[in-house]
């Protein structure tokens, strides 16, 4: 008996060892998917810049692949120092008329934080011997942008790019007017030209989206929010969106590419709620063709 009691006590004592056992040490770290900057991928997909050599004083206009018409006038051009320009010179044109093309060019339609309804974006530049030319003060070129259902009240916006982020600024009293072809306007500056108007009315409520992930490093993932009804594109920087109009429907598109050049994506269509939305997302692999199809469907 003397032996049995301590034996039982020892067994009882040892059983306490099981009380708080842990397998924490063999839980593997969850692999976080890392992505490369996506600019190289976008560069392979984005609209090419078209070049037109202007060598005579014709009637114009020059017409881009997607229908942008530009009435070039040499007499309204000058070097930045004011010198006159002589033939020939080159006009370069980029046309962005779909959300897909705007995404590839990372040219959202946001003016100082306000969503713009867009009728298209074009970049018009003129060069002589490699030097970029400018329009003379108070001179304009006529630009016509194609649109089958043009909207009234569209303004001319100029795009300025800071740290790879575009901001659209309206010049007072510069407008697009509707035509049977689309929109026509007189531009007083070369560069990025946007046809647009404020997408939401005064008094609209806004909320914000933030994006996080436990499976993917979102640092290099491109995030876009497209408001189909508003024809407006927002790009998300640092995983935090700008003001999203409450009640509207947004299509969220996220794209990343890894070191093996495998494309990953996230896509979701959802209403903008009155409270801020936090999305914990996980990217999935996708083919280039399927990704293109999604962007085409926006």
């Amino acid at each position: 008996m003397k032996t049995v009691i301590p034996f039982i006590a020892a067994i009882t004592f040892s059983s306490f060892f099981f009380v708080q056992c842990s397998k924490d040490r063999i839980e593997q770290k969850q692999q976080i998917n890392e992505y490369e900057p996506i600019n190289n991928y976008f560069d392979t997909k984005k609209q090419e810049e078209q070049e037109f050599v202007i060598d005579t004083n014709g009637q114009g206009p020059i017409i881009g692949n997607q229908g942008t018409k530009i009435w070039c006038d040499k007499s309204k051009l000058m070097y930045p120092n004011g010198d006159s320009v002589y033939y020939p010179y080159t006009v370069k044109l980029v046309e962005l008329y779909t959300p897909k093309d705007m995404i590839y060019y990372q040219m959202p339609t946001v003016a100082s934080g306000n969503l713009l309804t867009t009728g298209g974006e074009v970049r018009i530049r003129a060069f002589k011997n490699g030097q970029e030319l400018v329009l003379r003060p108070n001179k304009t070129w006529t630009v016509e942008m194609p649109n089958s259902t043009p909207l009234s009240g569209m303004n001319i916006y100029y795009g300025t790019i800071n740290s790879n982020i575009v901001n659209w600024i309206q010049n007072p009293n510069e407008f697009f007017t509707t035509t049977s072809y689309g929109y026509v306007g007189e531009i007083s500056r070369l560069g990025w030209i946007g046809c647009g108007k404020l997408a939401v009315l005064t008094g609209t409520s806004f909320s914000n989206f933030t994006f996080s992930s436990t499976t993917d490093n979102l640092q290099n993932v491109a995030i876009f929010m497209y408001y189909h009804n508003l024809k407006s594109l927002m790009q998300v920087y640092n995983q935090s969106s700008g003001n999203a109009p409450v009640g509207d429907t947004v299509k969220i598109v996220m794209m990343g590419i890894n070191s093996s050049q495998q494309l990953y994506y996230f896509y979701q269509k959802m209403p903008v709620s009155s409270t801020n939305t936090q999305l914990n997302i996980s990217l999935s692999p996708i083919t280039d063709a399927s990704m293109t199809a999604i962007l085409d469907s926006l």
Binding site: K2, T3, P6, F7, A10, F13, S14, F16, F17, F18, Q20, C21, S22, K23, D24, R25, I26, E27, Q28, K29, Q30
Partner: protein
Amino acid sequence: MVLKKYIFIAIFVISSHFSIAQRFGIGASAIYNFQTESFAGGLRAEFPMGTFSIVPQIAYYPAFNKINEYYLGVAMHQNLFPLSNWTVYALVHGGYNGWSNYETSNLENAKYSNWDLEGGIGIKTNRCFRPFLEYRYNLKWKETNLHFGFMYFFHCKNGKRFGSGGGGKSRSGHCNAYD
């Protein structure tokens, strides 16, 4: 860090001096950690002092395991009671833990250098060639492990009682149960 290293060296040196004058044992063990599902091999020496022993020991969990690490430490054994031809003892072990593949673990604050403390219970025979079995709980990692091995005691004669002890009975072919 350097201080702790010197403490270990001191313990081993003291233990070595002790072993010159007294009997001591050396042994090896196979170890299984139930929580990390890892196998290890261990080496140890034992310096009995009556019913109490100082047992410096090392253990290595090779890289084929989920956890690749080693332990370098000292245990103290206290004989509790005899059980037939066996002796049941309690043990406390403190030591240094070098965790080689800590970077793969999701454990918060996982790092290479660690100090750990174990408590446990063991059973051993009383012969000069002395199998033992220990069941230990690691307070640091909250893991249990089983040590199965043997010790061989020098200056030990089977059948002759040696050393002081806490009341164990001496039998032919056995060392004192309370060694």
